[in-house]
Amino acid sequence: MIPEIGLAALWLSAALAALQLIGGLLGAGEKSHPLAALVRPAALLQAGLCGLAFLCLLYSFIVTDLSVLLVANNSHSMKPMVFKIAGAWSNHEGSMLMWVTIMAVAGGAIALIERRLPERTMLATLGAQAFVGLGFYAFLLISSNPFERLNPAPPEGSGLNPLLQDVAAAYHPTTLYVGYVGLSVAFSFAVGALLTRNVTPDFARVMRPWVLGAWIFLTIGITAGSYWAYYELGWGGWWFWDPVENASLMPWLAATALLHSASVLAARDALRTWTIMLGVVAFSMSMVGTFLVRSGILTSVHAFAVDPERGSFILALLAINIGGALALFATRAGTVAEGERFSPMSREGALVVNNVMLSAILGIVLLGTLYPLLTEAFGVKVSVGPPYFDPVSAIFFFPMMAVLVIGPLLRWRKDSFARVKWPVLIAAALGLAVLIGTAVLTDIAVLALLGLGLSIAVAVSSFMPLRGRSLRRLPLAVWGMCIGHFGLAVALFGMSADSAFQQERLIASDIGDVVDIGPWQVRLDAVKPAAGPNWVAMEAEMQVAYEGGKWRDARPQDRHFWAPPQETSEVALITRWNGQLYVAMGNQVQDGRWQLRLWWKPFVTWIWYGGLLIALGGVLALVGRVVSDLRRRSAAGKLAERREEQEARA
């Protein structure tokens, strides 16, 4: 019964989305159209019903209702509860249901709380949201019904794949997903603003929290994914420029650019067309990413849930939504008035550089990721990897970081270099000192060298905007900006330090051997078998000591799963503030010694701390914006009340 309720709720919410679309478009076109009054209630009800459908699916997974095909294929009564729940959306149908649920809930939230924009623009926005949603409803209901029954029900489910029972595997795709879908709201706002020719600072202010929210999720998703690859693949790499990684990076780059251009539009009413375009591009990148991952047209380590037929459906949605929006945009662009002008030496000027550079990096990543696909159409196979992406993206990334040293210190509209001379010079001098010092003392690659110098300069300057201001009265959003930029510097420092100073040793070790790796001493004491619920492993009992200090345990494993048969390397990570010792165990050599792979990776953890700091900066900015919006709203409300009272008295 429960799955049928879910299915009915899904059909109803699809119908409501249709109503929302029609009402939204009519209401946007004509003042006080009768259907317009139904749009907001439809959006709210749709959110509720879609949420209900999702809860029905969750329930089926929690009780392991094996008469539901999706549950029978993806779950198992013996699974731990947390993986049963995560199992509801770590398959194609469930994840698509989650996609429309997030879209519907976001649409409902806009309908409920957003009153700052002109009503026509809001109606058009909700209509656009419903339009995008309808495509996915069609996808779900026509070709991937999550509530399909299985008769007779099997005695047991088939989904006990041990490799998917990993906490990271459960939350990492989910976080990215929320980010992808969150950008659909920015897309709808952009289309709504475009349809009603109403691109104003208010539009940017209303859109910004949604972009921020999506961006926070994307940031966390990418950071977590990178750490997961680092400890799971067993070779110490944390970014491979793999197509699927790039598919998550591209929406992030677009969202980052959008975030910055939206703040220009909000504060200064400039970059109108550009901001709209980024709104469209950011969601396009989300859909392109989903398409690339789901269709399997690119070779990737992360390839899963691949199905060309679904790929064609996503491609069709992609073409309709994005092609439509771009074409609409191209016909309307002339009618969006150009915004305010500004001097190059200003906050806006710096943000323009930021946007141009981010867009350029986005273009390069898109080009490099899709290029093999293009040549394959002509029967030529090529590979594009780190030796291409690293230097080519650096051409744009490093100048952007250099501008980041000065940008946040500048005032809006017009500023002079003389005013910010000293903080900039201090930051630049420190960065240069590190750069020159490292260049003299060591022999490392140019990119790492520039990365170290710039990360120091940006780290120093990132807190300069706090200078001379009352820390207690400073808006949270400014704190968010400082911490976010500082996080970027921290991450860049970690990347550069790791690539420049990491040390590697591959050895065959006898029991009792002591090996040096960087500042560490590593001793292999014993190799013993170990067992888990669905694996057996050879476990190395090792002792490690940093610079002759206390000995600590390290226990890497060479793990064999038996269903399905797979060999994985469970690495031992010994973390210090200044880096990580990475120990992976290999096979036994013929003379009885054991293969060990050791890395000393200085400051490598700073990459992910940096990523988390960036996300934290986003959270602070989001909270700050929302709180100040609420305060402004209640102030405006009080003002209106007082005015009414006065009028009543008069």
């Binding site: 793999d242 080009l367 290029y371 090529v382 990897g385 291409y388 591959l506 078998p529 096979n587």
Partner: protein
């Protein structure tokens, strides 16, 4: 203890069962998991290995892979570097065997020129966009 022995037997039996799975049981090539003695040469080899694609894996470099063939390729790279061969010559040797697919570092050719031309255009467009903004005010 008995359980432990049974477990150990199971672990040791796994490689024997391997032929069914289509995996060989031979020890890896000497330099698959062993570094060169000279750190400078090893660094050279490392740098090259990170830019060569493992042909048996999905999108991984031979420096990041446990596949036996990746090990054999690492052995090739290390022994050739140790013999004094130039890294780019080794890359060229592999490309002459497997085509451009084996190298993650695209080189300029009739099929890859857009990879280099487009960034140049992007630099020009980006530079133009920024300079125009700067001029617009003055």
């Amino acid at each position: 203890m008995k359980r432990l022995i049974a477990l150990l037997a199971l672990v040791l039996a796994l490689p024997l069962a391997a032929p069914v799975l289509g995996q060989d049981t031979m020890p890896p090539a000497p330099y698959a998991y062993q570094q060169l003695e000279d750190p400078a040469l090893e660094a050279k080899a490392q740098e090259l290995m990170f830019t060569l694609r493992c042909l048996k894996c999905q999108s991984q470099s031979i420096a990041d892979s446990d596949a036996p063939m990746a090990g054999d390729m690492r052995h090739q790279v290390r022994t050739r570097i140790a013999a004094g061969e130039d890294p780019e010559a080794i890359r060229a040797w592999l490309v002459s065997r497997y085509g451009d697919y084996v190298s993650y570092k695209p080189h300029l050719s009739s099929s890859t020129w857009p990879l280099f031309a487009i960034p140049v255009i992007v630099v020009l467009v980006a530079g133009f966009a920024i300079v125009r903004r700067m001029r617009a005010r003055k």
